[in-house]
């Protein structure tokens, strides 16, 4: 009974082992001390493209390309003599060779077991070719996707440039045609009328130039000239510059610097430009009597936060004003705020926008006190 029980247990163990060998996705190959193949599972047959009957009893080096093939017996002997392992106990990346002659990358782990007097070496092998192919395909698709995004961006930019340039060009063209038609019909009388139209031509050309300047600015990216900037001084300059226009528009421009002196490393001219853009946008948005407040707020250590709030109508829902070409202004390029963000990010800071408590928009600028230029 005990003998039958033991036999049954052995049969069960063998069946389990067989099931594992058969169902494993990785190749499992055993060799004896002479390097001859004693076990070659179904996955090994699939990976190496040899039926087991063609490899059992043969030297395992037949599954290797040069130089592994020529060196394997020597490595095996060296290990058996010195105990110095090259493959045993570690995962190695090597090359295998299929029956077709195709070589392929594989991951190999080898273990050693003694069964009585016999030493068996068992390798578990993973075919990495498919994984590499899949990775290469993913990389290719990723690159393609990035290229398509860039092309779409370029397409959007080109479309934007065409559209934004067409309007001032149309104005230039129509003014010029008017001048010519006046001169043709009544040359002597044309002089004074033509002067006014010529002035409009100059104004339109300047407008085109400003437009091109914005595109150039954005395309160029931000190179910063770092210096010590007194935040209170910067805000005072902004206030002095914009106060006359604010007064003309009936807007109260209320600027309060920090309670204590705050100095930060920044490009003063570029930061001024950011505030110019925000104040101008606020004045345009308010379009009549209203209020713009600029405050320095408490921030995390080593940083400064500046808040600009206006009493305008606020920003429309679902509009990302920092996205390229998003504009709420007729004739706007949609580059002003993206350029502002570009400048602030180049300083190591950022800008965000939210709704005001009662109305309007609130912009928050966050900057490090000791900024370093981004590479």
């Amino acid at each position: 009974m005990a003998k039958e029980g033991a036999l049954h247990s052995i049969e069960v163990q063998a069946a389990r082992f067989e099931a594992i060998l058969t169902t494993a996705r990785d190749a499992i190959i055993s060799i004896n001390g002479d390097g001859l193949i004693t076990l070659f599972n179904r996955a090994a047959e699939s990976i190496f493209e040899f039926p087991a009957s063609e490899v059992l009893g043969k030297n395992v080096s037949m599954l290797m390309p040069s130089p592994y093939r020529e060196d394997h017996d020597r490595y095996l002997r060296s290990y058996q003599e010195t105990g110095e392992a090259r493959a045993i106990g570690r995962i190695r990346k090597v090359e295998g060779q299929r029956k077709s002659g195709e070589t392929f990358p594989m991951e190999l782990s080898v273990s050693e077991v003694r069964v009585g007097e016999e030493i068996l070496y068992t390798a578990v092998i993973r075919d990495m070719a498919e994984r590499q192919r899949a990775q290469a395909e993913m990389d290719r698709l990723r690159l393609l996707s990035r290229q398509r995004e860039r092309l779409a961006d370029i397409g959007a930019l080109a479309s934007k440039i065409v559209h934004d340039l067409a309007n001032p060009l149309a104005a230039l063209s129509m003014v010029s045609q008017g001048i010519l038609r006046r001169i043709e019909r009544a040359p002597e009388a044309a002089i004074e009328t033509v002067r006014g139209q010529a002035e409009r031509l100059v104004g339109t050309a300047q407008r085109l130039d400003a437009l091109l300047g914005e595109f150039k600015d954005f395309a160029r990216g931000q190179r910063l000239d770092f210096q010590d900037v007194d935040v209170a001084g910067l805000l005072r300059t902004v206030e002095e510059f914009w106060k006359p226009e604010a007064i003309r528009n009936g807007v109260v421009l209320d600027v309060q610097g920090p309670a204590e002196a705050v100095s930060l490393r920044a490009d003063a001219e570029k930061l001024h430009r950011v505030f110019d853009n925000l104040v101008k946008n606020a004045l345009d948005a308010i379009d009549g009597p209203g209020r713009i407040e600029i405050r320095v707020e408490p921030a995390a250590a080593g940083r400064v936060r500046i808040r600009l709030a206006d009493s305008g109508p606020g920003l429309p829902e679902g509009v990302d004003v920092f996205a390229l070409f998003e504009t709420t202004k007729a004739g706007g390029t949609g580059l002003g705020l993206p350029i502002c963000r570009q400048i602030l990010v180049a300083h190591g800071g950022d800008i965000s926008v939210d709704k005001g408590d009662s109305a309007g928009a609130v912009f928050q600028i966050d900057l490090p006190l000791h900024g370093t230029p981004l590479a």
């Binding site: 065409v162 559209h163 067409a166 060009l169 149309a170 104005a171 129509m174 008017g178 139209q197 004739g331």
Partner: protein, 127 residues
Amino acid sequence: MASCTCIPILLVDQDHIFRQALAENLRIDGHEVVECDSAEEALPAMRARACVALIAEYAMPGFNGVHLADEFRAARSGPTLLVTAQSSGAVAAHVEVRHYVRLLPKPVAYDQLHDVLHDLFVVRSDS
């Protein structure tokens, strides 16, 4: 360039330089031109003034030129010439279904604009 009966024209474009230059050219040809810089200004003007044709920009904040053309058609039974830098298929599709609207891209040659206006006015007179 086709000869044209001088007609009172409602001209709507927020680009004041283009609008004034086009108005100037139309006045050289003897047309009376009522200028507006927005749809908001144009809507009461089209009811108050006896203009028989509308020239407008398509892309105006809050109220595009096709909507304005529909309003003008209802108010004055008149045709519309849209002059615009917007060249999308959607704009053309909007215009195609309206026999009383034509579309010209900016920049535009005045002579071409005048000829299209003439055709539109003649078509309008016949329909």
